[in-house]
Symmetry: C2
Subunit: 109 residues, 2 copies
């Protein structure tokens, strides 16, 4: 188990230990209580100019030693991810494109 | 969808609109990305002396008007809930007792 207080602002690393960015917040499916996306940010300064990149939760694993998340998603993959629609977090079509892009089976089925 | 940033510290109300307490944090099942518990606190002063009460996520619904959660769980139910074991959040037996007590079907099946 991991506490939500240990998630917001937590660093995300590549498998080789380079910091890619951090988790800004999680988007939670209200009905099911399932985490739909971990929203990652990188670049920018103090959060200004940094873009948000929603990732399926299953692309992240928590590394207790690093006290952070590890992902095999690359920065190129993040920047090349499907464009977010307006209201993306409630858009099932966007969810399909996102999960398909990252090769994760849908959480909603 | 609801953001994790809108959850930590968010008030919890009874169906009649009385504030019962607040959500301190969520406990997330790492593998599945499922929220196992919303940990509620009430009483105490500035969090000191307040006790933590883990609730199944499905006992809460988010009320946009109140900008808070609503639950039909009473304060008596919260205080009468099964005792938490040490390391309760990783204890499946405790999870069974807790979910059974609140009448919620297990998230892990």
């Amino acid at each position: 188990m991991v506490s939500s207080t240990d998630v917001n602002g937590t660093a995300v690393y590549s498998p080789s230990g380079d910091q890619l960015g951090e988790i800004d917040h999680l988007m939670i499916d209200k009905q099911s209580g399932q985490i739909a996306y971990a929203v990652m940010t990188f670049g920018g300064f103090l959060g200004i100019g940094s873009d948000e990149h929603p990732l399926p939760w299953k692309k992240l694993s928590f590394d207790t030693g690093l006290a952070g998340f590890v992902t095999d998603v690359t920065q190129e993959q993040l920047t090349g991810a499907p464009q977010r629609s307006e209201g993306w977090f409630d858009d099932r079509d966007y969810a399909r494109r996102n999960y398909d892009y990252y090769g994760v089976s849908p959480y909603w089925i």
